[in-house]
Every structure is written in structure tokens, then in C-alpha cells.
């Protein structure tokens, strides 16, 4: 079997996705730049250059049960949790650094906490796990 055919096929996947019109959302990644005088992480997140308005698709995270949004009731709070699986239109290795720097992503105006970043070894795209939790 000609292994080059597989490689070429892989290279053709994301152009088809990009042309499909599925990537209708835009993601901007942000990191907290500094600390308060007392040393707590300040909430004035700033955009990461090169990771602004990236075409993407944000889907509810697949759980097998078909519904990933959830609520957890505890004594002192009721937590509403919504998780997303975000596919970016290309390979962005810097997104990994955002995840590991307490960063967040804003998708169509909704601020989400980045809780995971993956890209397969073909480096054709990046996928992000993100969540929005409110109490």
C-alpha cells in the first residue's frame, strides 16, 4: 500500500472542513498578564497575539449520554457546568501554552475556561476542551 496516499489524504481533510462552512464561530485566546498588588491572578485577561478570531466550531462535549451540560448541587452552591469541544481551523501549537498558563478562550462572546488542548501528530488542526462554570 502506498503510504503517501494516506498522508496526502490527511492533508486534504482540513481544507474540506474549512470549505464546508462548518467553522462559523471565532475563538480568541487570552491569558492573565499580571498579578494584583497582593499577588492574586488579576482578571484583566489580554489577547494572545496570533490567536485572535480563529475560525472554529464549538460543539457540546460528547459524553455518550447526549447532554453534557450539567448541574451539581452542593451545600453552599449550585454549580452549572457546560463543556465544549472546540475544533480550530488549523494547527496552533501556542494554544497549548495558553492552556498551561491559566488562559481562557472567548468564543462568540462567551468566555470559557480552557481545560485541555490536543493535536494529533499530523498537526493539521487543534482541538480544545473548554468549560463555562457558574455558581
Amino acid at each position: 500500500m502506498d503510504q503517501n496516499l494516506i498522508r496526502k489524504a490527511i492533508l486534504g481533510v482540513m481544507p474540506i472542513v474549512r470549505d464546508s462552512g462548518l467553522l462559523i464561530s471565532f475563538a480568541t485566546f487570552k491569558v492573565p498578564p499580571d498579578l494584583t498588588a497582593g499577588g492574586f491572578v488579576r482578571d484583566n485577561y489580554v489577547d494572545v497575539p496570533g490567536l485572535i478570531d480563529i475560525a472554529c466550531m464549538a460543539s457540546p462535549l460528547g459524553t455518550g449520554s447526549g447532554f453534557s451540560a450539567s448541574e451539581t448541587k452542593a451545600q453552599e452552591e449550585q454549580q452549572a457546568n457546560q463543556e465544549f469541544h472546540i475544533v480550530l481551523d488549523d494547527f496552533y501549537p501556542a494554544v497549548n501554552d495558553v492552556w498551561r498558563s491559566a488562559g481562557c478562550v472567548v468564543v462568540d462572546g462567551l468566555t470559557l475556561d480552557v481545560t485541555g488542548v490536543e493535536h494529533p501528530s499530523q498537526n493539521q488542526y487543534t482541538r480544545v476542551r473548554a468549560q463555562n462554570v457558574t455558581i
Binding site: 494584583t36 498588588a37 497582593g38 492574586f40 491572578v41 482578571d43 451545600q75 453552599e76 452552591e77 449550585q78 454549580q79 452549572a80 491559566a102 481562557c104 468566555t111 470559557l112 475556561d113 468549560q131 463555562n132 462554570v133 457558574t134 455558581i135
Partner: protein, 149 residues
């Protein structure tokens, strides 16, 4: 009237506390046991939890004066604001306005305690870790002298 109701009602009378927790009594963000969902997005919040209630004994029977260990968890996305709100609660509890041991605290004029009757046991910083980013919290641990009304 429960002690939490007395605390919340009396706290709302203080402009220094309304500045942190809101100017509408119905939505005043001082909660009994559980944070009301969505309130943290509005502003500083306080959760009041009774940790324990100690009752002593007098010769005729149980002493109506209770020593209630009460925990105040004060949350704000800004740790400095949480600390300022905790300081405001502490300042108020250290006055005769925070009178929970004499009848008449809700009369007009209100009956003040002769002096501070609430005792701060401890204060510690903490985090509320479950939200998108952790929320700073100040926890006040008080012994509040209370008589049921």
C-alpha cells in the same frame, strides 16, 4: 426569628454593608447557607453558616442566651474587595448596632447592646475553586451572643 434572619436584617440597615451586598433587601447578597445561583456575577456575596450553637444552663433551666459559632464566607472576584467586605462586617459586628442578645433590636429606636457582644474567633483566606477562575474568599469565624426573639 432565626439568628441568620436577625443578622441579615440588621446588616441591611448598615450603609457600609449595602455598598458591598446591594441596596435591595430582597436581593441583598447575604445568604443563609447557600449561595443563590447567579449572584456572584452581580457582586460581592456573603454566605452565613451556623457551625454550632452552645447552650449553657442556669438553675431555672437552659440559658436563653446562646453562643452561636457563625461562619461568614465573603466572596468576590477581587481579593481586595473580599477583604474589604470582610473588614466592613467585622467593624459592624464590633459595635452595639450588631445586637443579637437583647430584645428591641428592631424597634424604633433600636435598642443597642451596651457594647460589642460578638467575638471574632478567626479569619482565614480561601478560594472558591469551582468557577471558571477561582474566586477569592475571606472566612470570618465568630461567636455571636444571641437570644431568640
Amino acid at each position: 426569628m432565626t439568628l441568620t434572619t436577625k443578622i441579615r436584617t440588621a446588616a441591611f440597615m448598615q450603609s457600609s454593608l449595602r455598598a458591598f451586598f446591594g441596596n435591595d433587601f430582597d436581593t441583598f447578597r447575604m445568604f443563609d447557607r447557600q449561595l443563590k445561583q447567579g449572584s456572584l456575577a452581580v457582586g460581592t456575596c456573603c454566605i452565613i453558616t451556623t457551625v454550632s450553637e452552645v447552650t449553657t444552663y442556669l438553675h431555672p433551666g437552659p440559658n436563653p442566651l446562646k453562643m452561636v459559632r457563625t461562619q461568614f464566607d465573603i466572596l468576590d472576584v477581587d481579593p481586595d474587595v473580599a477583604a474589604d467586605a470582610a473588614a466592613a462586617i467585622e467593624a459592624w459586628l464590633n459595635t452595639g448596632d450588631a445586637n443579637f442578645l437583647e430584645n428591641g433590636m428592631f424597634t424604633s429606636p433600636a435598642v443597642q447592646a451596651a457594647g460589642p457582644s460578638n467575638f471574632k474567633l478567626n479569619q482565614r483566606g480561601g478560594l472558591w475553586p469551582t468557577t471558571n477562575r477561582p474566586v477569592p474568599m475571606e472566612t470570618l469565624d465568630y461567636r455571636i451572643m444571641s437570644v431568640a426573639i
